[in-house]
């Protein structure tokens, strides 16, 4: 059972939590025993069940501790299956949560939601502004994970989280794929899940960066130009991936860009391979900036081409956002014992329990009964 703190009122409790370094700097919902209990109940699981060990502290992220974070983040009980799946993914050994949280690089796990849980555990937004403010599920699911990483994992800036600058995605970083408007197979089916299943995919990445791509239906080279712009942005010379030649990369195609690529006869694999092909640098261009990349430093000549990723499979492509000129890329890190892979975990919705006393609007303060 989690230790209880006491305060004379919620205002003082909030100040105490800020003072203790238990918040992200913004106000939180005070995790009273009643609120936490209801969140645990909604999970359908025992509060003491560990979902995994979160680095760098290595402490167990129990359902109850995750519920505390979800309450603090302002999540609805409906979101718990997604939050728990995200915690499982980040605590997977290959995600290297200790190194991910401790590195000086600016990384945050982006949470990508696929499958029916996008609707039943949300709605998790996948359209206009899905990476921005105004979407409660996106905002509070990502924030829940961050509070678990801080309060269970023990990440504190400048003490145990050594990111030199951090980035805004460390407050919250969650979106769904717009499967309905995508011409491609949903992202999670690449990981062996059926379209009827739900999954989160997490990748420790830099902040998203916009890529402008003007599509011209009269230009037969338009699709390839689009892939070039996206690939060069993802593998840009300042990104870690350019110098490590590995790590996960994330590409968020807007539906118009995705449709243009599909009209050109490209399927998901073609798109990913095209981006991989363009996510490269000349050895001379890497040597011209500050690099420790031995591939570049030992290259026979400056025109040797060095890929920013090991294989197309390391580049995650999904469709989300409003339709228009811009897609997004998220380069990553490439370091750590497992070299910064993405991890997918099924969202288990069959355990979810509707909690008596929770109002239809999801308010956790509704009276019992």
């Amino acid at each position: 059972m989690t230790d209880l703190l006491e305060a004379v009122d919620e205002y003082q409790a909030l100040e105490d939590l800020h003072e203790a370094g238990c918040t992200d700097g913004l106000p939180v919902v005070i995790p009273t025993p009643e609120r936490v209990e209801r969140m645990v109940l909604a999970s359908g699981l025992d509060g003491g069940l560990s979902l995994g060990n979160m680095g760098p502290s290595g402490a167990a992220a129990t359902v109850e501790k995750v519920a505390v974070a979800a309450v603090m983040a302002g999540a609805l009980p409906d979101y718990m299956p997604v939050v728990m799946a995200a915690v499982r993914a980040v605590t997977a050994p290959e995600f290297d949560s200790t190194e991910m949280q401790g590195t000086t690089h600016c990384l945050a796990p982006v949470i990508i939601v696929n499958g029916p849980a996008r609707h039943s555990c949300g709605p998790v937004a996948s359209g206009f502004g899905c990476l921005g403010p105004g979407h409660r599920a996106n905002a509070s699911i990502g924030r829940s994970l961050r509070l678990v990483m801080m309060n269970v994992g023990g990440a504190r800036p400048g003490i145990s989280d050594m990111a030199l600058h951090g980035h805004p995605g460390k407050f919250t970083f969650c979106l769904a794929e717009n499967e309905e408007d995508s011409p491609f197979s949903p992202l999670h089916t690449l990981r062996g899940y059926d379209v009827a299943q739900s999954a989160v995919t997490v990748a420790g990445v830099e902040a998203p960066e916009s890529v402008l791509g003007v599509v011209d239906a009269d230009d037969p080279t338009s699709a390839r130009k689009l892939l070039r712009g996206i690939g060069q942005s993802l593998g840009r010379v300042g990104a870690n991936n350019a110098h490590f030649g590995r790590g996960a990369g994330v590409v968020v195609l807007n539906p118009d860009h995705a449709a243009a690529l599909a009209r050109a006869g490209l399927d998901r694999d073609d798109v990913t391979e095209g981006i991989f092909e363009f996510a490269v640098n000349r050895a001379g261009d890497l040597k011209a900036v500050a690099t420790f990349d031995r591939r570049a430093l030992k290259a026979e000549h400056d025109d040797v081409i060095l890929p920013a990723f090991r294989s197309p499979e390391d580049i995650l492509v999904l469709v989300a956002g409003g339709g228009g000129l811009y897609s997004m890329v998220m380069p990553s890190w490439g370091a750590g014992p497992h070299h910064n892979p993405s991890v997918s975990v099924e969202i288990e919705t069959d355990q979810f329990c509707e909690v008596p006393g929770i109002a239809p609007n999801g308010s956790i303060d509704a009276p019992n009964g």
Binding site: G55, P56, S57, G58, G102, G154, R156, I159, S160, M162
Partner: protein, 74 residues
């Protein structure tokens, strides 16, 4: 820090080299991984990229401290 802890767990004399900027993180990791007294030697920050002469000066200062820490860890 974790490398030092892992080698110490294997029974090998170990000392972790930690720059002053990362000293608090070293404390946290040492506590978290159950070896709060793992021998450590503090380096100035930064070391990387400061040039050969700077590194030589740092090395001359810390080598005796590293040897002393390793002898203490035997």
């Amino acid at each position: 820090m974790r490398d030092g802890i892992e080698t110490a767990r294997q029974g090998l004399p170990s000392v972790a080299l930690v720059t002053e900027e990362f000293w608090p993180q070293g404390d946290f990791v040492a506590q978290s991984f159950g070896m709060p007294t793992i021998p450590r030697v503090q380096l100035p920050h930064p070391v990387a990229g400061t040039g050969v002469e700077s590194m030589r000066i740092i090395a001359e200062k810390v080598v005796p401290e590293i040897i002393a820490a390793l002898e203490g860890a035997k």
